[in-house]
């Protein structure tokens, strides 16, 4: 379980998060939604310890990751798989080597076991034949799927997705959404999806947290989202050309 407690973060005097508190429950898919620049990715990066809050706590399985030593933080991070917005594949390595990288660095597997594991991960993201291709030879959607294969290669307990469908066509976005759902079911992982794509939120998330003006403005289940009357949240959802309401919840 991840607990974010009253964190405050500012960059060069500009406040991005203030008194942000959130809980990510075991096994759920939580979507963090909000306008561009609202601090969604900043909040996600705090959960992995890539950013340190100016004040407040981030507890991962009860451990405050901002007070532990760097060595302990490294161990905590090994429970995470992170899919970055642009994929963040290592461009000097081919797809196979990218997925194998954490296994070769940390794992105690033999080279044959690593090959089997990499192929299995690439199959999970439905790209079994791209092992020899460099990231520059893959489309944006394929890069994200290979990055996802890398993120799951070490059997993480938590997977963080930073804008997994941004910049992708609707069909590829649906494929990525299906993968997120599928991986959550098959691997029984806890997922945090940072997105402003309401289509993704409504189709994959168990709960959603809406960030507005640097605070967690609203948190609830997707069914609660459909019955929500908060004008700010409704404004955001409608800007996405989505309709929420009990009748749409029933149709879901």
């Amino acid at each position: 379980m991840i607990v974010v407690r009253n964190i405050h973060k500012s960059f060069a005097g500009k406040t991005v998060l203030q008194n942000a508190s959130l809980q990510v429950n075991e096994g759920e898919i939580l979507a963090i939604i909000g306008r561009s620049g609202s601090g969604k990715s900043v909040l996600m990066k705090h959960m992995v310890g890539l950013l340190k809050p100016d004040s407040g706590q981030v507890l991962v399985d009860g451990l405050d990751i901002n007070t532990v030593s760097y060595r302990e933080l490294q161990k905590v991070r090994q429970n995470f798989g992170v899919l970055f917005q642009g994929g963040a594949l290592f461009d000097s390595m081919n797809s196979f080597e990218n997925v194998a990288f954490p296994l070769r660095t940390f794992g105690k597997l033999s080279e044959i076991e690593i090959q089997e594991r990499v192929l299995k991960c690439l199959e999970m993201v439905e790209l079994p034949d791209v092992g020899t291709k460099l990231p520059s030879e893959l489309s944006g959607g394929m890069q994200k799927r290979v990055a996802l294969a890398r993120a799951i290669s070490m059997n993480p307990r938590y997977i963080m997705y930073d804008e997994p469908t941004s910049g992708l066509d609707p069909e590829t976005s649906n494929t990525i959404d299906a993968l997120i759902n599928n991986l959550a079911d098959r691997l029984n992982v806890t997922s945090v999806v940072v997105t402003h794509d309401m289509h993704s939120v409504l189709s994959i998330a168990d709960r959603a947290a809406f960030i507005h003006n640097g605070t967690i403005w609203w948190v609830g289940t997707i069914d609660e989202l459909h019955t929500c009357t908060d004008p700010v949240l409704i404004g955001f959802v409608k800007a996405n050309e989505y309709q929420i309401g009990p009748q749409h919840a029933a149709a879901r």
């Binding site: 490294q74 991070r77 970055f84 963040a88 461009d91 660095t105």
Partner: protein, 256 residues
């Protein structure tokens, strides 16, 4: 106005603090040597072996030009021609080989390091390493600095031999000084401390170039423009600190 002035005063101090912390973290990462051992050899090839042709070319010409100019300045029936070797060889060993190699590597290696790390930073590849639980400083910076410090003396020694060889060849070919006289002059005035001083310099320059370039690249901000800025800053700052280190080393070690 006051804020801008304060920034101008404190920015260099802030940079120095961040640089020191980064290098401190790199030293602490040496305990994870197992994880980046392979990278060190890769970087030794990239920084050292692949730089040999350009270093040799620059050394050859600088040795030759120094010989020609020294011969031009010392043409006199009262001065033995062997003095040309006595002037050129210490110049090469004490100053030319190390500084020319330093400047070349600041451009070739420094810019490359900053561009590589800068691109990794802006494309979140460094964040990806950290998110996996890998020490990005240990994985990216330590191999480059260790390889730079290890390979720079090798390049310096190669540059010395090539520059002196170039000097002998041009002196002999132009008739300014026969090879035998050049060598005898060099041997007569040779001081064993000179190459030791040059090696110390090359170690320091190797550290200066790689550590500054790693720092500039690692803390790159912004997109392609940021990478360009870091690359330029890495090369220019390295050159400035090479000159500074050169002066400090000469003032401290040659006044013994």
């Amino acid at each position: 106005m006051v804020g801008q002035l304060a920034d101008r005063i404190f920015d260099p101090l802030r940079s120095l603090g961040r640089f020191t912390l980064l290098i401190g973290r790199a030293f602490r990462s040496l305990s994870e040597f197992r994880l980046f051992r392979k990278n060190i050899f890769e970087q030794m090839v990239r920084i050292g072996i692949e730089s040999i042709p350009i270093v040799a070319l620059a050394a050859l010409f600088s040795g030759a030009v120094t010989t020609v100019q020294t011969a031009y300045q010392l043409v006199s029936p009262l001065i033995p021609r062997s003095i040309i070797g006595a002037v050129v060889v210490p110049s090469v060993i004490l100053e030319l080989a190390a500084v020319i190699t330093g400047f070349l590597l600041a451009g070739r290696v420094g810019a490359r390091i900053a561009a590589e790390l800068g691109t990794m930073r802006v494309t979140e590849q460094i964040d990806a390493l950290e998110a996996m639980g890998l020490n990005s400083v240990g994985y990216l910076i330590v191999p480059r600095v260790v390889a730079g410090v290890a390979m720079f003396p090798v390049l310096y020694v190669a540059a010395c031999f090539v520059a002196i060889g170039g000097g002998i060849a041009i002196g002999h070919a132009t008739g300014a000084v026969p090879a035998g006289e050049f060598i005898s002059g060099a041997r007569e005035y040779f001081k064993p401390f000179d190459p030791i001083f040059g090696l110390i310099k090359s170690l320091v320059f190797g550290f200066v170039i790689t550590s500054i370039s790693c720092y500039k690249g690692y803390y790159t901000r912004g997109g392609a423009e940021g990478v360009g800025r870091s690359t330029t800053e890495a090369a220019v700052t390295s050159c400035v600190y090479i000159l500074l280190a050169d002066l400090v080393l000469a003032a401290t070690l040659l006044n013994l």
